[in-house]
Subunit: 276 residues, 2 copies
């Protein structure tokens, strides 16, 4: 329902990453998979999550006697080391081992560096460069004219866009050990279930405070920090902002249906948050 | 979320009846049970549903390592005969065997006849009737004065309220065999996934049309009919009303968050529907 409200195309979802087997993080998965089936999905769906997730989903799909017109592939996780679990042309995904009451992983999404962008007006000054040469230029090769002159690739192309990175860390106790892996990440979602007035409860339940989330963001020198997973005991979410910002300035409060865009095209506005 | 929106007290829910194991009828159950646990519920919860429901819920609760502070009791159904599955002082619940793509039951909720109501002003004309006699009067006994005079119970009490009945039939193909069991039911919810323009699809998917639901209501001579479980292909729900009412007049279209009150206190207004 939330995906629909946010107008996210179901067909754009091909991998699903489940951090841990607490209900607020996976009870809705079987309904989503089932809906994909009812809507006639054909393309493979990959689900990454703790050992046990496959049995839970398959038992329910079997009970409903539903036919899925697509292949559902489970990649069950059990390692407590940061591991590469998914990779394609554009992105690599690593687990971020977290500390919670059950086996939990965060996920680090890192874009790969893209191709160089063609500088068409520069290219057009060399009539002998043809379309079939473009891919080599995008790949960074210099161009050698027929007379042997070498044209530097940098004269014919622009730098590719800066690859972006996003880390999702929820649920977790304060865990400074993840800082090294998060170094320079553009955008970090870090849970802040509590404020420091409930530090004891945060320790007991293996959650974090807003202050702790900000400490992680600062130590890892990330571009921006998104807070979330707030305990319902706090009526005013701005209290989380107030606790985090003295430590780390660029903080965004996550809210239902808020869209946060990570943009590498406009310098100095890396993180743009707007409400739908 | 819908229960919350409708302000239904969670503590008033002690029995849950699941018709069949299709996702739209049970995927939310584990979340509800889990929420009951988080909110500190202590009282037993009884779940009635097809064989398999217990394994599905227990597997997920085990994975989440959740502690439930209450006892969860499953009553798994497999009979294809109408059966008494629950009974207390006030109500009896029978299954209504339905025909769908998987094993499915409707449920018939019948109030038991209540105690007679005391006619206090009549009672007060007999000073020797004491409070300790009231329960006997409520139970219908005549009162014998010390001089041997018999006072008819009907002079001292009013008739109890008419016991009400409600039948829930979803999902099901058109099944006239259920009519006998539904005879004179005050209120019937009967699915109408389709209109008769899709009679072929109704047969294929083992669902009903609005016309078929109305035929069941008419044949069983029920007090009112609620339609629902509409296919999303129909933009205007009034088409269901238009198809059903020529056959059976007292039709209500169910809608999310609509509250339908079955009232036995005001004659001739047995079914009162109002929008929250």
């Amino acid at each position: 329902m939330q995906l629909r409200k946010c107008k996210i195309k179901f067909s754009s979802i091909n991998q699903i990453f489940i951090s841990h087997l607490h209900g607020d993080h996976f009870f809705g998965l079987v309904g989503l998979i089932s809906t994909f089936g009812l809507l006639g999905r054909k393309t493979d769906l990959h689900v990454f999550g703790p050992v046990g997730i496959a049995d839970i989903i398959r038992l329910q799909l079997k009970a409903t006697a539903s036919y899925l017109g697509f292949t559902l592939l489970f990649h069950e996780l059990e390692s407590t080391q940061a591991s590469l679990i998914y990779e394609d042309d554009k992105v690599a995904v690593h687990t971020i081992p977290l500390t919670h009451r059950v086996y939990t992983n965060g996920f680090l999404f890192r874009e790969k560096i893209g191709e160089r962008k063609l500088n068409i007006s520069a290219i057009n000054t060399y009539p002998e460069i043809e379309r079939c040469d473009y891919q080599n230029l995008k790949n960074g090769r210099d161009y050698i004219l027929e007379d042997g002159t070498i044209i530097d690739n940098e004269l014919l192309t622009f730098n590719p866009l800066k690859p972006l990175s996003y880390a999702y860390c929820s649920d977790t106790a304060y865990k400074p050990a993840i800082v090294a892996q998060l170094d320079q990440t553009d955008l970090l979602y870090h849970e802040s279930t509590f404020l420091k007035d409930k530090q004891d409860l945060a320790i007991l339940t293996k959650h974090s405070t807003a202050e702790e989330a900000a400490k992680i963001a600062k130590a890892a020198n990330v571009g921006g920090l998104i807070l979330g997973h707030y305990s319902s005991r706090y009526p005013n979410k701005k209290m989380f902002l107030a606790e985090a910002q003295p430590i780390f300035k660029n903080v965004i409060l996550s809210e239902d249906e808020k869209v946060i865009t990570l943009d590498n095209k406009v310098p100095e506005t890396l993180v743009v948050a707007h409400q739908n």
